[in-house]
């Protein structure tokens, strides 16, 4: 079979070859393989895109047109116990805008065995969740005479987290910067290291102290273990991909965040491109719409072509266009004209809108071809 395949492998995408091999099974005779693959190549050649096809517009239409059918503000309630996630049109806009702050940042944390089977799942989930000092404090009081902050700890909460007071003190020594920590009887006592005994300063320190993370991962403010298929997954609200991926029990091959920029920073641009595709596809699928993945790929490729994620906005992709007129036809034309005049820019009229403006054929599709004719000198 391998021999019979050889001549066709180069002609077809590898995914297609393997799908066909699977379909035929091992028992197919060489002649059958040959005849089938010959037909496959024929069919593939007929399905290929033609040169000049305006794939960008088709992709934009394919995403823009179902946009009108999508619902706004849908929150996702799959299953009884999942949390709210921005879905629908707002989410697509968020992704394609390249927004840095998301409405609902979240992660799906996949676990390694045996944790994925549910072992210690609650404990693990809690260990990921950030806990701040205020969450375990029963009372925070100010001792103004000594410029000291006293924190009474709720023992029950602490033991729930599997921490001891001693442990807490050692964590705080590291995390609470600029403060000295001491355990006096039942109270945690904090004092500013530099000797400014200003009352205002102490108040400020107190507010800062409340927010000190004593356990878990910063940024993950809610966790939820969920059974997905045959394994347990932890869904979190708030993201911190870098720290989570470094945890020993996390399956770092599958764990994802929904923050494209975080993925770009941690895993690189290729991963970010895939994340754009996945995130948009998830929404479209969720809405019961049908859009081919190729269109999303093209959008993701335009967004990531510069080597970093750019939104489809006047500050992102459009700004980097070569043509002044194309930029001007989008938004803020005056700004682009002024710039162009300073730099003496030349618009070579290589894309679509400029030529529309000048009533000339556009260089895509049937307008792309140019006729080269030999000029007959003798005539």
């Amino acid at each position: 079979m391998a021999d019979a395949l050889k001549e066709y492998e180069a002609l077809l995408p590898s995914g297609l070859v393997s799908r066909m091999v699977e379909e035929l099974g091992d028992k197919a005779s060489d002649s059958k393989v040959k005849s089938v693959f010959k037909r496959l190549v024929d069919e593939y050649e007929r399905m290929k895109v033609h040169a000049g096809e305006s794939v960008g517009i088709v992709a934009a239409e394919s995403i823009g047109e179902p946009g009108t059918q999508m619902t706004l503000n849908t929150f996702h309630f799959a299953g009884v116990a999942e949390m709210n996630i921005t879905m629908g049109l707002p989410r697509i806009i968020e992704v394609l805008d390249g927004r840095k702050t998301l409405a609902t940042p979240m992660m799906d944390i996949y676990l390694k065995r045996p944790y994925s089977q549910g072992q210690d799942i609650k404990k693990i989930a809690l260990s990921v969740k950030e806990t701040r000092l205020k969450d375990v404090a029963a009372e925070i009081s100010l001792n103004l005479a000594d410029a000291r902050i006293d924190v009474a700890v709720d023992d029950a909460r602490l033991s729930e987290l599997g921490m001891t007071k001693q442990g807490l003190v050692s964590v705080l020594k590291k995390e609470a910067k600029g403060l000295s920590v001491e355990l006096r009887k039942e109270l945690l006592c904090f004092k500013a290291k530099n000797k400014e005994e200003n009352v205002n300063e102490v108040f400020k320190l107190k507010e800062k102290l409340k927010e000190v993370v004593i356990k878990g991962i910063k940024g993950v403010y809610q966790v939820l273990p969920v059974k997905r298929g045959s394994e347990f997954v932890i869904i979190t609200a708030g993201t911190n991909l870098k720290k989570v991926l470094s945890l020993p029990f996390v399956d770092d091959t599958r764990t994802v965040s929904n923050d494209i920029f975080e993925i770009e920073a941690v895993l690189g641009i290729e991963a970010a491109r895939q994340a754009v595709i996945n995130e948009v596809f998830k929404v479209i699928e969720n809405q019961g719409l049908n859009v081919d993945i190729r269109h999303l790929m093209l959008v993701a490729d335009t967004m990531s072509a510069a080597g970093r994620i750019q939104g489809i906005t006047r500050y992102g992709v459009v700004k980097n266009k070569a043509s002044v007129l194309a930029k001007a036809s989008f938004e803020t034309p005056i700004k682009y004209f002024i710039e162009a005049s300073l730099y003496g820019e030349v618009d070579k009229l290589t894309s679509v809108v400029e030529n529309v403006m000048l009533n000339q054929p556009v260089p895509v599709g049937t307008g792309m071809l140019k006729l080269v004719a030999k000029h007959d000198e003798g005539k």
Partner: protein, 857 residues
């Protein structure tokens, strides 16, 4: 044939700044007076409407080029400003120059040694990331170089420069006059200017401060004559009048040696007028207004925004040879036809060139003239002169007509037309149809093509365009014809298929036990244009399936599934429908698998033809059988009613039980939820289950022969849920995925007790639409209805904007001859489109159907 083809194309557009020299050079008149017309109403020499600047009055001749109105495109003029003023749009650039160059010697505030280091790096950044990044970098370098506030060249002390918006620059709280600014900018060397990203061939820094001011030609600011004979000037003319007047006053005052304060005031006023001439929507400046108080529309307002020159006139254009009217359905038309009203056909024309071979044919149209159909409206002589055909000149024209002329004849059957419905969200919103001239006054087309246009007939209007050249007609026919658009480029499945009655009809026809007499079958088939009846079984009574099979090609094999539970397997062998019912899964758009297979095997023209016939077959069946819908369809047996009420009683009990459990604190919350939330979720579950149960009961008891159910089962229109809502119960009204909670304090409506958690108090509607809703139920339904209405109203502009941005960002991506996807500057985005080079609109649902290829021999 001596036609004047224009062989020239615009190759590129260069942008740059106008130098004072250039402004003077391109000007054909110097404007010296704000007056417009003299007593006779003739434009004043040296005024703003000077005839040297172009003509807008019929009868006058332009003094510059000698041509008349419409021929003369207008010419610029200029005025010399008494004192220089700053060009508003360059204020940020001027500021960077002032801050980063020496106030004495105008050199960049970087020492020579450092400068030579930085220069190449800056150039590189400028080339890669654009001039604004480069400028930012230069600022950083200067800030980092730490010159201790002194110029490294002349050691002059530097001061802090601030800006008082919009156009005043301050140095150490003291104002720098534009004269001073200009002289500083003049001293900047070309090499230094380049560091700021300026291209000195296109722009010198001092040109950003204006000393002469260009006056745009009158043709771009025409005045309009009102009915009263009064002239009303354009906004720009008003603004220019202000500038000229103040400039004049400033001159006089300076010459007369007026006190500095007065001169300064006038200077500021001039600056204001010049600034608002460029942009009248600056936040810090009050806009210049008409006497009526309405703000003037000056240069920037003319260009920007959706109604501006660019988006309104340049990117969007108006066309001739187009028509628009209300649409209506006509299943007797082919899928690729459009019915055009005869009055439209009299006005829309197609140009045809006269040759030796068609001269007699075209003379017939000329003979008919413009009023009789099919006639002609215009003829175009070989020299390009267009002549309107009237009754009087028909005879003369017939004599005159010879090869080389063009006759613009009326629209006729078979002509090519592009049909469109807005919003044109995807390419199938504009498709090419063949014209069919018909009586009456609406545009008509086959309802099977409603789906791609997203059209219905509740008053929708559509547009028709008639391509005017052979090239455009050929392209439209080959690339845009309805049959070429059968497969959606969005998901690779059919977008055109049977709809509504056509599905119901075929569904009934192909159902088990549907039979008809042979005569009726022949009648039915011939009514839809099947003439070869040899393959109709020679029996007295033929089954519906046999009739249906008559349309299929003899060598067609197909295996699929239908929605029906009785006959889920659809089998077609050798063009005979052996088993299975034809419904939306097989005939409809979207899925339409049968059609997809026919299209694949027999080609697009065949598929479109067959679809038309299938459509008419379905409708003809209904014509003969009768099909309607009635309220009686929702009648249920008393038994069913009892069952439904029993169901509600038990559901209500369950809800009460849950509430009691919650009140006693025994309800176990779901992880991550409060017990209140858990209660809500559980109640929702119970109530939704109850509604679904009523749906099942309705489905069980409904008469399967009722037309409502036929429509639902075949997928033609509606579903079981709709029927259940009419006959059984409407169900829970949900607002944002929750039961209704808003309203009064602690309760939804004042007719309920506070803290009532029961089903009825939170929007569960027990009644059916047929029985009618109770007041509270009606109100809840209205709440949800309003919410979804708002949702639609808010969504449309959002998704519209997303679409605009996407299409603007991606419009120049195309597949090159080497199969790569590139943008306009040739940057490769994908090496192979979609990683495998497959065109979705040629694929089967986005992929190649491997198993079909493996199986077919």
């Amino acid at each position: 044939m001596d036609e004047n083809f224009v062989y020239k194309q615009v190759g590129s557009v260069i942008f740059g700044m106008l130098s004072p020299k250039m402004i003077k050079k391109m000007a054909s008149a110097k404007v010296v007076t704000p007056e417009l017309y003299d007593k006779e109403g003739y434009p004043v020499d040296g005024g703003l409407m000077d005839v040297r600047l172009g003509v807008i009055d019929p009868g006058l001749r332009c003094k510059t080029c000698g041509s008349r109105l419409k021929e003369c495109i207008g010419h610029f003029g200029y005025i010399s400003l008494a004192r220089p003023v700053i060009h508003y749009n360059y204020v940020p650039v001027i500021l960077t120059f002032l801050r980063n160059t020496c106030r004495e010697c105008s050199r960049v505030l970087l020492a020579d040694a450092k400068l030579s280091q930085v220069r190449d790096k800056l150039r590189q950044i400028g080339a890669e990331k654009g001039p604004d990044v480069m400028r930012k970098r230069l600022k950083e370098d200067i800030a980092a170089s730490n010159n201790a506030g002194k110029c490294p060249y002349c050691k002059a002390r530097q001061f802090k420069i601030t800006i008082e918006k919009p156009t005043t620059f301050l140095e150490n709280e003291r104002r720098i006059s534009p004269i001073e600014i200009r002289s500083r900018l003049e001293k900047v060397t070309d090499d230094d200017a380049e560091l700021f990203g300026l291209n000195v061939r296109a722009s010198r820094p001092e040109w950003m401060v204006l000393t002469v001011f260009p006056i745009p030609p009158v043709t771009m600011r025409p005045s309009i004559t009102l009915e009263t004979g009064e002239r009303s000037e354009d906004d720009l003319t008003h603004k220019l009048g202000d500038i000229v007047r103040i400039n004049q006053r400033l001159f006089e005052n300076i010459n007369a040696g007026a006190p500095e304060i007065i001169v300064e005031d006038l200077w500021d006023l001039l600056q204001y007028h010049v600034t608002t001439f460029f942009d009248n929507e600056i936040a810090q400046l009050p806009p210049a207004r008409h006497r009526s108080g309405q703000p003037l529309k000056t240069i920037s307002e003319r260009i920007r925004s959706k109604e501006g020159r660019i988006r309104h006139n340049l990117v969007g254009k108006r066309t001739n040879f187009s028509a628009r009217t209300v649409i209506s359905p006509d299943p007797m038309l082919g899928l690729n036809e459009v019915g055009v009203p005869d009055i439209m056909a009299l006005n829309l024309t197609v140009p045809e060139r006269v040759t030796e071979w068609n001269i007699d044919y075209l003379k017939r149209f000329v003979k008919n003239g413009p009023k009789a159909y099919p006639g002609a409206n215009y003829i175009i002589r070989p020299d390009g002169k267009k002549k309107k055909l009237t009754e009087d000149i028909i005879e003369a024209t017939l004599e005159e007509l010879q090869p080389g002329y063009i006759v613009e004849r009326h629209l006729m059957d078979g002509d090519i037309a592009i049909f469109n419905r807005q919003p044109s969200l995807h390419r199938v919103s504009m498709m090419c149809h063949h014209v069919r001239v018909l009586p009456c006054k609406t545009l008509r087309f086959n309802p099977a093509v409603c789906f791609p246009y997203n059209a219905d007939f509740d008053g929708d209007e559509m547009n028709l365009h008639i391509p005017q050249t052979e090239e455009s007609r050929a392209e439209a026919e080959l690339l845009m014809m309805v049959q070429t658009q059968l497969i959606s480029p969005r998901y690779g499945l059919a977008v055109i298929g049977c709809v509504q009655d056509a599905i119901s009809g075929n569904y009934l026809l192909t159902q088990k036990g549907f039979s008809l007499r042979r005569e009726d079958a022949v009648d039915l088939l011939s009514s839809i244009g099947v003439t070869d009846l040899s393959s109709l079984p020679k029996k007295e009574v033929v089954s519906g399936k046999e009739v249906f099979s008559m349309l299929l090609p003899g060598d067609f094999n197909f295996a699929g599934r239908s929605r029906s539970k009785d006959e889920p397997e659809v089998v077609i062998e050798d063009g005979k429908l052996v088993s299975g019912v034809m419904d939306k899964n097989n005939l409809g758009e979207g899925s339409g698998l049968l059609l997809r297979n026919l299209h694949k095997k027999y080609g697009e023209s065949f598929a479109v033809d067959l679809l038309g016939r299938l459509f008419r077959l379905g409708i003809s069946v209904l014509f003969r059988r009768g099909f309607t819908t009635t309220i009686a369809d929702t009648d249920l047996l008393a038994e069913a009613g009892d069952k439904i009420s029993a169901l509600f009683v038990s559901a209500e009990q369950e809800v009460q039980r849950l509430i009691a459990e919650f009140n006693s604190g025994q309800l176990k919350p779901f992880p991550g939820r409060s017990s209140r939330e858990t209660l809500e979720l559980k109640i929702l579950e119970v109530l939704n289950k109850a509604r679904n149960e009523t749906g099942h009961i309705v489905a069980d008891y409904a008469n399967p022969g009722s037309h409502t159910l036929i429509m639902a089962n075949s997928g033609a229109r509606g579903n079981l849920l709709n029927l259940a809502q009419m006959a059984g119960c409407v169900g829970q009204q949900a607002l944002r995925g929750k039961r209704i909670e808003k309203g009064f304090k602690n309760r939804t409506l004042s007719c309920f007790r506070p803290f009532d958690l029961g089903s009825e108090a939170h929007g569960f509607i027990k009644s059916s639409f047929k029985r009618g809703l109770k007041p509270a139920e009606f109100f809840f339904q209205a709440m949800v209805g309003r919410d979804s209405l708002m949702d639609t109203a808010l969504r449309t502009p959002k998704s519209g904007y997303l679409y605009r941005r996407l299409s603007n960002a991606m419009q120049d991506l195309k597949v090159e001859y080497d199969g790569t996807v590139r943008d306009a500057s040739g940057r490769i985005l994908q090496f192979s489109y979609g990683e495998d080079g497959i065109d979705v609109s040629r694929s089967e649902g986005g992929t190649i159907n491997v198993s079909r290829i493996a199986r077919s021999e």
